[in-house]
């Protein structure tokens, strides 16, 4: 998965349009329960388990920041892969 594919997951899960992945979730119209739905979808699609205690406001700030966090969690060379 890459940023563009991740943006599509955000769009599908949150019923929004992501034109700029750096745009804050709040500006995209993604509310906090929507963000949880997104994290659930991410876990399910990517076959990973997210540590909710490690998530910060900045991590959850935008599609780009969340994608960067997920990549960091899975190691420097490989992005999270689907199951």
């Amino acid at each position: 998965m890459n940023q563009s594919e991740f943006d599509q997951l955000v769009e599908r899960t949150c019923s929004v349009t992501v034109r700029d992945p750096e745009a804050p979730f709040v500006d995209l119209g993604v509310d906090s329960l929507n963000t949880i739905a997104l994290l659930m979808a991410v876990e399910e699609q990517l076959g990973i388990e997210i540590d909710p205690e490690a998530l910060t406001e900045s991590t959850l700030g935008s599609p780009a920041s969340l994608w960067r966090y997920l990549q960091e969690q899975s190691g420097p060379d490989s992005g999270p892969s689907g199951r």
Binding site: T13, C14, S15, G29, V30, D31, S32, L33, N34, T35, I36, A37, L39, M40, A41, E43, E44, I50, P52
Partner: protein, 398 residues
């Protein structure tokens, strides 16, 4: 007494459980079809990832993540609502109470389809409203009857602004109003400036998968629509919604906030997660099949036990939860309750669905919840009970 001006309103006790009782009374869904393992996994993940938010108070809005689930359900019956038109409820009973309190004033008259869903009658009465039956003909609610009734009541000085109905697989009759009749009814309501309260818990539960366009779908500006997840998912989450024109949704949002402070974010998020993963089609199809099968078992047993030419008349349902029996000679079905209890079967007598002592000759049987293997036995017990009316008291009626 704190409130002597309002009559004490009692809800029928429908959910009694007794080991030896075949309960045809309570309108419970068949939760055998729920995919519990999948739901358990989703709820577990939801609480782990977002429990601190989902278990917190929230504002009286339908969560954005739940809106696609509601849009899909409403769309299946030709209805549509924007996010600003939606108000979350803890099930339609709360919605009815909110409507009674928020959109009417005590003393007003509400037109009501009868035999009436007792929960609606109880809610409106608790809100201090008076009920008046909508005239019917062989095709259901009569638009011309509505006009005559409203004009008569208004000429008497009564305020009439609301019309309540359950037009698809009605509780308790199972009847569905035709689209032609719906359209005409809405025309008359527009002419009389009546707001229609459309209660639609069973609309998606046809046995053949067909749906009938909702009143809200025909005239969304004239209708306050009550939707619920209780019959297409499960009632235990206590989660439903009102779809209303935005200016009315704003009022109802305020009323529901006074009633409950906050909807359950957890319930909304759990439903949203289920829908995002599974959609509605499989679960609704499973519910339809289950009810079709149970309905057929009950209808076959009734044909066998009561026959087509006896004192009881009824129709095979095409959807919903219920079969409505009527005694051709108008015998009060309350007279069979004692025998039914002795034989170990329960039903709801017609008077529970009356708003002015009418429909005593009817009784409601619910097929949705009784285990399949007990349905025929229950009907056999019922047939015995229906042959043993309590004697009339002196001076009593039929």
């Amino acid at each position: 007494m704190l409130n002597e001006s309002r009559p004490r309103v009692e809800m029928p006790q429908l959910f009694e459980r007794r080991a030896d009782l075949v309960n045809f009374a309570g309108g419970l869904p068949d939760l055998e079809v729920l995919p519990l393992e999948a739901i358990s996994g989703q709820v577990s993940r939801l609480v782990r990832l977002g429990g601190r938010l989902a278990l917190q108070y929230s504002t009286p809005h339908v969560a954005k993540s739940l809106i696609p689930a509601i849009s899909e359900l409403m769309g299946l019956e030709g209805a549509h609502a924007e996010a600003d038109d939606l108000v979350p409820t803890g099930g339609s009973q709360m919605g009815l109470m909110a409507i009674g309190l928020g959109l009417a004033s005590p003393g007003e008259t509400v037109l009501c389809q009868t035999p009436a869903y007792p929960g609606a009658a109880a809610a409106f009465r608790t809100a201090g409203l008076t009920l008046c039956a909508i005239p019917e003909d062989e095709r259901g609610m009569s638009p011309e009857g509505v006009r005559e009734t409203v004009l008569r009541l208004r000429a008497q000085g009564q305020s009439v602004q609301l019309l309540y109905c359950n037009p698809t697989f009605q509780n308790p009759t199972g009847a569905t109003l035709s689209v032609e009749r719906r359209t005409r009814l809405l025309e008359v309501c527009r002419e009389l400036d009546l707001l229609v309260i459309e209660d639609n818990p069973y609309g998606l539960l046809s046995f053949d998968g067909e749906t009938t366009t909702t009143l809200q779908g025909i005239d969304p500006e004239r209708v306050v629509y009550l939707g619920t997840f209780s019959k297409v998912f499960a009632p235990g989450l206590r989660c439903g919604w009102i779809a209303a024109p935005e200016h009315l949704a704003r009022i109802l949002r305020g009323t529901t906030e006074v009633m409950a402070l906050s909807p359950s974010a957890l319930a909304q998020a759990a439903l949203a997660a289920f829908h995002a993963r599974s959609g509605w089609t499989d679960l609704i199809t499973a519910y339809r099949r289950s009810y079709q099968e149970r309905s057929a078992l009950m209808a076959d047993a009734l044909e066998k036990e009561l026959g087509a030419f006896g004192p009881w008349e009824w129709e095979r349902p095409r959807g919903g939860f219920y079969i409505w029996l009527r005694h051709r000679d108008g015998v009060d079905t309350g007279r069979f309750l004692k025998a039914a209890s002795e034989h170990g079967v329960s039903y709801v007598p017609g008077t529970h669905f009356s708003i002015d002592a009418e429909h005593a000759d009817g009784l409601r049987l619910c097929f949705s919840y009784v285990p399949r293997k007990h349905i025929a036995e229950g009907v056999t017990r019922l047939a015995k009970a229906l042959a043993e009316p309590e004697p009339l008291r002196e001076g009593g009626t039929s």
